[in-house]
Every structure is written in structure tokens, then in C-alpha cells.
């Protein structure tokens, strides 16, 4: 395997954390969704890394499913974003706080 597994995991953790920071830091719905995309990619990287490490193909198939799920998720969430934008005419999440106790 071209790279020791630990380095790979470090890379994916960094990516995951970056995605996380993006989700937490931004107010804009789109940026949050982008953050989620980054996190999902980090997971994809880990899967591929593990599949390479164990020399098994299952990891890669999992990545395929992951991608399918990601595209489904993105389509619906963007539809929601459009809907929300039409409702409140803004994409800032601070305006959408009806779900409070």
C-alpha cells in the first residue's frame, strides 16, 4: 500500500474537521450543505483507504453507495433550500427558528 494507513486516516480526519467547521461556522444554508459534502467525502476517502489497506473491494462498493446516498441527499436538501428561500426570502438559518421549545 502506497501510504501507511495512519497518514490516510489523518488526512480524512482533517477533511472531516474542516467540513465540520464549515457546518458550524457558517450562517448560510448552502455553505452548511457544502460542509456536509466535505464531511461525506472524508468518509469516502477513509472507505477507499480501508479497501486499499485490506485489499478488499467491499470498501469501494460502499463508497459507491455513499455517493448515491449523497446525491439523493443533496437533491432533496437543495429543493428544501429553494423552498425555504421562497418562504422567508432568505437563506440565513437564524431566520428559521420556529422549531423552538
Amino acid at each position: 500500500m502506497i501510504v501507511p494507513m495512519e497518514h490516510l486516516l489523518i488526512l480524512s480526519t482533517i477533511l472531516f474537521l474542516l467540513g465540520l467547521v464549515c457546518v458550524l461556522a457558517h450562517r448560510n444554508l448552502i455553505m452548511i450543505l457544502i460542509g456536509v459534502e466535505i464531511m461525506l467525502n472524508a468518509v469516502g476517502l477513509t472507505l477507499v483507504g480501508a479497501s486499499a489497506f485490506w485489499q478488499q473491494i467491499d470498501g469501494q462498493i460502499m463508497v459507491l453507495f455513499l455517493m448515491a446516498m449523497t446525491s439523493a441527499e443533496v437533491s432533496i436538501s437543495l429543493a428544501m433550500v429553494v423552498y425555504l428561500q421562497r418562504c422567508k426570502n432568505s437563506v440565513d438559518i437564524r431566520d428559521f427558528d420556529e422549531m423552538r421549545g
Binding site: 474542516l18 457558517h26 477507499v48 459507491l64 446525491s71
Partner: protein, 175 residues
């Protein structure tokens, strides 16, 4: 040996691109950086012996999802929450992405040109499309069907949420 070196470079590019992506005020810039990061990631997948996944990464992530993002951003005219003070002159904004693109292009060339192992096709262990296909449709046949359902539901959901949109806007428009 160059593969590991290449892996580290590409890793660096991905991290820098993602970092720049999440810093951006303007979502369009963020998407562009992200596309770049996905390309780097695709190359890493390729290095790790997953050519199919590398291809799909480019097709689905960089191609489809980011384009969808761009499409939505454009459609909704989300005004970039840019603060006028910092906006550099027109061309200056493009410098970082330009450098990243150059680095990425050089890596791909390096990858395809110099490494003899790649010269005769693929690195040591790789999942060729053949056995990928076998595995996919032999052991995971059922999983594929379920994922297809999933995609179908997503389509219906997106359609429904979107369609609801017109009826409501007509009502708003009329009332």
C-alpha cells in the same frame, strides 16, 4: 516511490482547497474551490487503487453535485455576503484557484507520464472495473436495488418539494 510523494502533494492540495472553500464568503467561490478539492481527491482514489471510484468522484461529486450547487446558487441569486472593504481587484480573487489548478494539472501529468508502474496501466493492487462489476452485481445485487429505490424517492421528494413551491407561490401571488 513517486506515488507516495504524489499522495502527499495531492493530500496537501485537497486540504488547502477545502480550507479555502470554507473560508469563502461567496458560495460560488467556495464551490469552485471544492470542485478543485474533489479533483485532487479523485487522484488520491486512483492512487489507492480505486480507478472506478476516482472516475465516479469526478463525475458525481465534481460534475453533478457541485454543478447542482452552482445552479441553485445562481437561481436563487443568493447575494454573496461579501463585505466591500476586502474585495480585492477583479483578477486578484482568482490567484489562489489558479495556483491550485496548476498544481493539480502538474500532478496529473506527473501521474500519467513519469511513473513506470502507471505506464503499463495501473499501480500494484487495483480494483479493475471487471471485478468491481462482478462484486457489485453478484454480492451486492440487492443493495443496488435498494439504492436505486433511494434515488427514486429522492427524485420524487425533490420534485414534490419543488412542485409545492409553484402552487403556493400562485396562491401567494393571487391572494
Amino acid at each position: 516511490m513517486t506515488a507516495t510523494l504524489l499522495f502527499y502533494i495531492l493530500g496537501a492540495i485537497t486540504v488547502v482547497a477545502t480550507l479555502l472553500a470554507i473560508i469563502q464568503r461567496n458560495p460560488v467561490h467556495a464551490v469552485i474551490y471544492l470542485v478543485n478539492s474533489f479533483f485532487a481527491l479523485a487522484l488520491i482514489f486512483y492512487l489507492l487503487g480505486a480507478p472506478m471510484i476516482a472516475a465516479w468522484e469526478v463525475i458525481i461529486y465534481a460534475g453533478a453535485i457541485m454543478v447542482l450547487f452552482l445552479f441553485i446558487i445562481m437561481m436563487l441569486e443568493i447575494s454573496p455576503s461579501s463585505d466591500p472593504v476586502r474585495s480585492a481587484p477583479g483578477w486578484a480573487q482568482w490567484v489562489p484557484i489558479f495556483i491550485l489548478a496548476i498544481a493539480l494539472a502538474s500532478c496529473t501529468l506527473l501521474l500519467t507520464g513519469l511513473d513506470p508502474v502507471i505506464a503499463e496501466g495501473l499501480p500494484r493492487w487495483h480494483a479493475s472495473p471487471r471485478d468491481f462489476g462482478y462484486a457489485l452485481f453478484k454480492e451486492y445485487a440487492l443493495a443496488i436495488e435498494i439504492v436505486s429505490f433511494q434515488l427514486l424517492f429522492a427524485a420524487v421528494g425533490a420534485f414534490y418539494v419543488g412542485r409545492l413551491e409553484q402552487k403556493k407561490s400562485q396562491r401567494e401571488g393571487s391572494s
